[in-house]
C-alpha cells in the first residue's frame, strides 16, 4: 500500500501551531532544504492526533508519518509528552495488525527553534523509509 518507486518518500508531518510550526517555518526561512515530498498538517497540539488519521495516511499512500511533538514546551500542559507517546504506541499496535512496519511512524519533540533538528530528522526518516522500500 505504501508509496514506492519515487526518489523521495512521501511523509506526512503532524506539526503544532505554536511550537513545531515555527520551527518548520524557520527551516524554510533559513533555506535549510529537505525533501519536497514532506507535507505538514498543523493542529493545535500533538497529543490530539487520532490514530485513525495516521492509519488513513498510510492507506492513502504515505510512506511515513512523523509527529513533530510539542514535548515539554507544550502550552497546554506537561502531560502532552506522555499523551503523545501513548498515541504512538497505540498506533504502532494497530499498524502491526495491518502489517505496516512500526518504523514508519516516528515521533520527536521539535521545539519552536528546532529547525535544524527538524531537517535532520526529516532527512534521516526519508533515508530510512527509502531503505525499507528497497529491502
Amino acid at each position: 500500500m505504501v508509496d514506492t518507486g519515487k526518489k523521495n518518500a512521501r511523509i506526512l508531518v503532524f506539526s503544532t501551531e505554536k511550537i513545531s510550526d515555527p520551527a518548520i517555518d524557520m527551516a524554510g526561512l533559513l533555506k535549510l532544504h529537505y525533501p519536497p515530498t514532506i507535507y505538514a498538517i498543523s493542529i493545535p497540539c500533538s497529543s490530539g492526533v487520532k490514530p485513525k488519521w495516521i492509519l488513513h495516511a498510510f492507506e492513502k499512500g504515505f510512506a511515513g508519518v512523523f509527529i513533530a511533538a510539542d514535548g515539554s514546551d507544550c502550552p497546554y500542559g506537561e502531560s502532552c509528552t506522555e499523551k503523545t507517546g501513548k498515541i504512538v504506541s497505540t498506533t504502532h499496535e494497530l499498524m502491526k495488525q495491518k502489517n505496516i512496519e512500526p518504523a514508519r511512524l516516528r515521533m520527536a519533540a521539535i521545539c519552536s527553534v528546532c529547525s535544524e533538528s527538524f531537517v535532520k530528522q526529516m532527512k534521516s526518516f526519508n533515508e530510512n523509509l527509502l531503505k525499507m522500500q528497497g529491502a
Binding site: D25, G28, I43, P75, Y76, V113
Partner: protein, 642 residues
Amino acid sequence: MNNKLGVYICHCGGNISDYIDVEKVRQSVENEEGVFLAKTTMFACGDSNQKEMVEDIKNNHLDGVVVASCSPKLHLLTFRAVTERGELNKYNYVHANIREQASWAHSDDKAGATEKAIHIVKAAIAKVRFAESLVPIKISSIKSVAVIGGGVAGMKAAIELSDLGCQVYLIEREYFVGGRVSQWDSLFTTNETGKELVTRLYNDLVKQKNITVYTGAEVISNSGNIGDFKLKIKITPRYIKAKCNQGELQNAIDVCPVEVPDDFNFNITGRKAIYHNFPSEYPQSPVIDIKNCTRCGACEKICENVDFTQKEEIMDINVGSVLMATGFDPYTPADGEFGYNSFDNVITLPQFKRIIDLSNEKLTFKGREIKNIAYIYCVGSRQVEGENKYCSRYCCTSAIHAAIIAKKKFLNIYNFHFTRGIRTYGKQEVLYDESSRMGDIYLQSYENDPPVVTGRNDKAVVRINDILTGKREMEVEADLVVLVTGMVPRKDNSVGSLFKLPKGRDRFFNEIHMKLRPVETVIDGITISGACQGPKNIMETANSALSAAAKSYSYVSKGELELEPIIARIDKDLCTWCNACAQACPFNAIEMEEGKTKNVASINNSACKGCGMCLPVCPTDAINLIAYSNNEIESMIDALAG
C-alpha cells in the same frame, strides 16, 4: 459543504514565484471541486488585492476563501479580516503556507516546490469545503497586569500601566527593586547616575495608588490563561519589622558575625547576613539574608526591629496579562578565560564600574593603586568557539563610558582598549570620539587572533597583534585588566519555563516577530520587554517596556476578550460517557451531563482551550475539534497523498 470557493495564489514579489510556477499552481487547482475562481496576485496582502478579494467575495457570494502565501503566523488574521469585510464569516477562510514550507524550503528544487505547493493548496481547498461560520467566544478580562521583574523596564511598564488605569502587581525576586541599573553609577548619555534614575522611577511608582510592589517574591505557579491568569506568588520575609530605626540597624549590622560576598558589588566586597544597599536601592528597608544567617541572635539583642517570627507567605493573584521584565545576567568568564581567576587583577566590566563608584581620590583595587588599565572586549559575546554568537550591543559604549569616567575622576589613568572593532552605533559614536581625543589607545585584534593575558611580576600583561598599527605585536603591562563582558540570559530563568515562553537561538526570550509583533510571545497574553528579550541599552529598554505596557493594556483595557471558537465538540449519539476524555482534559473543561437515555460528556466552552487532548482517548470517536474534524483532516490527507 462550501461550494463556491475563491482561491488566491500569491507571488509574494518573487519570494514565491521565483521558485514556484504560480500559474501552474493556479491551473492545477482551478478545477478542484467547489472552486469558483482561482487567481494569482503579486502581493495578496497588498491593499489593492485585499479590495479585489472583498469585491469578489461580495459580488459572487463566495462561501469559502483560500489564500496561498506566507506562513499563517504573518497573515492568517489579515485574510480573516478581508473575508469578514466581504461579509463572509471569517472562519470560512483557510490559509495555505507555500512560502516558508514550499518556495523557501525547497528553493533548490523548483519542480518539487511547485508540486508540493499544488498539493498544499488542494489540501487547503479540501479543508475550507468543511469550514463553518463560527462566533468567537467572549470571556471577561481582568483589568490588572502582573509585571515580573522590578528593574527599570518593569518599573517603567508598571507606572505606565497604572497611569492607563490598570491594577498592577510588580513582582521582584530580589529584596530591592531597580535591577542592574541601581548598580551603575554615571549613565550615558545623561550622566544621571543609576541610583538617581532608580530613585526617580521609584518615587513615581510609590505615588501610584494601584501598584502593589512585592519584593523577595517569586511566581511559583500559573494555572490560568489570557484574561485570567491565576498566579501563586511566594513572598519571603525580610525578617525586619516594617518601620525600623536606622541607628539601631547599623549597630545590628555591625554585630552580625557572618560575612558573605556582596553580589550588589559583584562580589568585590563583602556584606553581612543582615544588610541594606542604601542609598541605591528601594525599598529602603534592610533585610536578613536567611540562607546565610546563622541565627546567632546577635542582631536581635541590639535591634528590636529584627523579627525572626515572620513567615513565608503564599499569595494568589488574578491578572489579565503578564509582562515579563526579568532582565539579564552579566557574562561570567570561565576560569582562565583571559586570565580570569588566574590573575587577581583581572576583573569584569560590572566589577570595574563598582570599583570606580567605590573608590575616592585614587582608583584602587585590592589595596593597589591603578594607573594602566587594559580593556578586553567581546568577552562572552561574538564567540567563535562558545555558544554566544551574538553581539551584546551595550558593552562597547558602556566600557568606553566607564573608561572616560575613570579618567575624569582619577589622576594618571591610562586606558588601553583591546577591541574587535568598536560598535558605538548611532549617536554613541561621539563618546568614542571623545575617548580617542582624551588619549585612550585603541588596538584591534584579528578575529582568529585574540589578545593573550600572561603574568609578569605582579602585573598582568596583555599582548596583541594589532591590526591598526599593521600587525605589530603590542604589549601592555596593566595594573588592572577589565574583561568587557556581555549580557547573557538570567541563570535562573525558571519563571520563563513556568509560562512556557519560547527562547531564541541566543537563549533569550523570543518575540513572535521582530517587526510585526515585537513585544508579544506565542503564549497569548504574555508580553516581553527589556533585556530578557536580548541585549539592550537603557533607552532601548524603556522603549520596549512602554511598547509592552501598551500591548498588555490592550489585552485588558476593554474588560472583555474574544477567543477563538476552536473547541472540542461531542457527538452525543456516539458518546457512551466513559470519563476518559474528562481525565485527559488538562483544563477540567469536560463534565458529565445526564441525558434522558444515557449520560454523555459535555464541554464547558469558556474553559476548553481547543488542544484536542481528549480526541484520541475516546473509544467511540465521539469527539471532534472544530476546524480539525475527521472530515477535514482526512480530506486534507487525501489531497496531500494524491
